[in-house]
């Protein structure tokens, strides 16, 4: 059994230069520890390997039930020179939401 990040959290992507930052915000604070354990920077780097070279850093924001993932070399060289259609990488939050994690209920 697995769940998607989408089932437990919402997300938004932002851009600065060639770096994308993607928030992952739990709907329910009780899932924060599970996300912390399973949604590691390595797991995220693997999910993004086709669109970003990385590295990936993760910052906890416990007060906000959230994490901030900072993904470098993710925007085709940066907004100003990128050949992509989505130069800001606004759609990249959906790569995050599609990541599958083991079911938290099954692990209790």
């Amino acid at each position: 059994m697995s769940v998607r990040v989408y089932d437990l959290a919402h997300a938004r992507a932002g851009d600065k230069g060639n770096t994308s930052n993607i928030s992952v915000i739990c709907y329910d604070a009780t899932h924060w520890n599970f996300i912390e354990r399973e949604l590691t920077p390595e797991r995220v780097a693997d999910a993004f390997k086709h669109v970003a070279k990385g590295p990936v850093r993760r910052y906890p924001l416990r007060n906000l039930k959230a994490f901030n993932f900072v993904i470098e070399n993710a925007l085709g060289g940066g907004v100003t020179i990128s050949l992509a259609q989505d130069i800001h990488g606004k759609s990249l939050s959906n790569v995050m939401l599609a990541i599958e994690l083991p079911d938290p209920e099954a692990r209790k």
Partner: protein, 450 residues
Amino acid sequence: MKSRETVRVGAGAGTSDDRIVPALELAERGDIDYLVFECLAERTVSRENLSRSKDPNLGYSPSLHARLRMVLPACMRNGIRIVSNMGAANPLGGARAARKEAADLGLGDVPVAVVLGDDVSSIVKHRPELKLIENGEPLESILPKMISANAYLGADVVCEALNTGAPIVLSGRVADPSLFLAPMLHEFDWSYDDLPKIAQGTAAGHLLECTASVTGGCFGWPGKKEVPDLARNGYPFADVKADGSIVIGKTPDTGGRLDVMTCTEQLIYEIHDPTAYITPDCVLDITGIALSEESADRVRVEGARARPRTETYKVNVGYADGYIGEGEVSYGGIDAVARAKWAAEIVKERLRLQGFVYDDFRVDLIGMSSLHDQVDIRPEPYEVRLRLAGRTRERKAAHAIGFEVRAMHMHGPGGAGGACEPRVRDVLAVKSVLLPRNLVNSQVIVEGTL
């Protein structure tokens, strides 16, 4: 209703292309004291520098005309002061244009306070040794192609402009949250040493700087994150008190949604290390922030912290970096994807045969892989739009991409349709350096009679 000791700062734009009607609603029905228009993306100033080099009267945000024409009567009637970076590469030119709009609207002689000094191109020219933040190389490497260099100024100089009493303040490059912090400094005389207040004001500015992003824009998801009446979503404001307390609200009787979820998404937006969001006014730490819903469409912001501002300004250096060319054509029905892939190979081969070279090149199958790549694992759609794009030093090579893609109508696989005209655009790249504060001479001048 807001209390008498509260100052209400409204967000009227979060980018030069932002919608304008919600700003008018805020001016008419939002009971605001200030209306802030943030209209400069990273490369906008470079682009406007090019406009100014063609016509010395231009170089301010072209959206200034439409925005002021729409909101100025309501702002003047309701005593709302306007703060904006729509001055872009020519704040003085912007001020003259704004004054002319006011006069044409029958509002008389409206003085405009102008913030100058963000243009540091003549200063960095003599400092080729400054290191580019992005790659560590010296500024010298891009100096010959430099179009613009603008420091992100802070709230202090914008506050100085507000102190003149002019109803409109126009600047060039100012950090986004600083535009919102400035009215708070002006109203409450906060000192930069009073870090909890500077932190709260900066956090509020960050929440407001993308307008509808806290009121349900860029948020909704059918069946999952519903946003009521999104077509009529309103713009937000901050209710600020002298003690630094902040509540975010939105124009009454508008659509959209403002709650802890929308505010959390915007709070983390474009932040890297959440303990060190560097603005010209402070180094903000958002990790201690608590958001709570005070009532419908009102979110309280508490617990922002900050360390003192740094000794440097971040400077964006814009430079010309060749051209991007692109073309698109569509395939539908049986073997649509196979035909599109074949067409891509033919175009690439024809470009190669003509000797064109590209620093970067990209093939997208729109409908499969243009956003998240991995074409090999995506299901095939009924129809697909092929897009080819390349970056190059030569305009001719850039144009050839769209030219050859369009030629797929007659010289490619069967059944190609709907090719676009060849597209070419100048690349305005941006890199950044840090410049010691004492080298930047920001100042305020007033156009018109106070």
